[in-house]
Homo-oligomer: 145 residues x 4
């Protein structure tokens, strides 16, 4: 009982805000993206590369790699209240292939004023880096608990 | 007859290389992306925002905006031979909504050595800017005609 | 007389705001940077690469190329009122050398809300591209004429 | 004696390559930039903001913040042999002021083929973040010991 989270437990609140966003994100769920973990300023999301995401050589379209990273970024920055993605950069390190299980781990780098900067690394199941993403967020409203 | 393109007509060759790439790009075609125009160093692609691309508020996932821009970029840089996207940056100017017809216009900014830099503007049908994208390409092999 | 600018002539106002900023910019002036032209959303600045800006092989430090581009960007975005640089990307196309006369031309790409995006190309006197820069601005206050 | 580095000690080699680059970098040294530490894939550089680096409000020109970050980046990536900066992004978190002692810490994020990606955080002496920089390097030749 003592260990049960209080109404303003930061971890619980972070999860609630991010999960509300994800429940609303039909696009990510339609692609089979799942949330692996959420904590304040952090989130991990997974996606399997399907036949619909690849070209004739079974290499994933870079847009889907970006999409997975962007979803993890949105989950992480929404743990601080309602935020929007203003901009992002991505570096494609190596191709992903059909049936690869990809894991995108988003970590807050810095927050200042209503702005935030998040680094997302997309890895294959065996740990090999597929892409490095950096997202710029902007908070729309403060969280009211 | 005189006006028929010769085997090494640059416009024809650009189209052939880019179209071969697009034929191979099942991911883009599965999303209903179509090619509107191709010329050396330039390409325009279209996509309608579908229900599968949006969240519960009918706003398109940024990942799909990126994907459209990335496809136009790939078409434009492949007019110079087989190239790969090494990195990209995107700025989200305003949200796109379900049923919006989006047009991504990619224009080569500079090429140097085997590298290229392309600017892509994503617009709604009425001309309003949705996103600005900049892609970094790297040529894998020279075109041999 | 009819052609004399009125107090709220946009070109005149753009110049005044940007020139006030530049007069204040001791850092840029100390490097010998000069303003070649200013118009709403546009500016051109020049800099000669000096011995203090290069390494032992007489190649300019990339930081000085960035600095020139950043100055042209600041001039261009300040034609719309007091703005600050929030972020920037630069691609180094080829090295500049001691005694090269560099010209940075900044052009507004898009403005939305209080945000702006500017493209700056840095060229050598002979027109060769040295760097491509993209700056993200944010307006602090609206101009009150 | 046993602990003395062997000729191919990686730490020693990293230092030698980076220090050779820095000795050659007259531009950085002319600004009073000093190297605080070097290890394979990592480097820390310091710079005091001088009167020549600021505007009339004693706020440092963003170009000098970039220059310091770029120098730390160059030191870090040159620990792997001769590399060049191909591109970089910077986010300005808060202004630096005259007489601030700035510390730029560069850390390798990923290397792939001849490419590398480095994150550089610029902090004030009290630890406050001034800027976040990400640099893209490309190796020109392999190190031959």
């Amino acid at each position: 009982m003592d260990s049960s989270p209080t109404p303003d437990d930061p971890l619980l609140q972070a999860r609630r805000t991010a999960e509300a966003m994800f429940d609303d994100d039909r696009a990510s769920r339609a692609l089979g993206i799942t949330v692996a973990s959420i904590a304040p300023g952090r989130a991990t999301a997974r996606m399997r590369v399907t036949a619909a995401m690849v070209n004739g050589h079974a290499i994933a379209h870079g847009g889907y790699i970006f999409l997975l990273a962007d979803t993890a970024f949105a989950l992480a920055c929404n743990t601080h209240g309602v935020t929007v993605a203003g901009a992002a950069e991505i570096v494609f390190v190596q191709p992903a292939r059909e049936r690869d299980d990809l894991i995108a781990e988003a970590v807050e780098r810095v927050r200042f004023g209503r702005n935030g900067l998040y680094d997302v690394t997309v890895r294959r199941g065996d740990g090999a880096v597929i892409a490095e993403f950096r997202g710029h967020s902007r908070q729309l409203q403060t969280r009211q608990g």
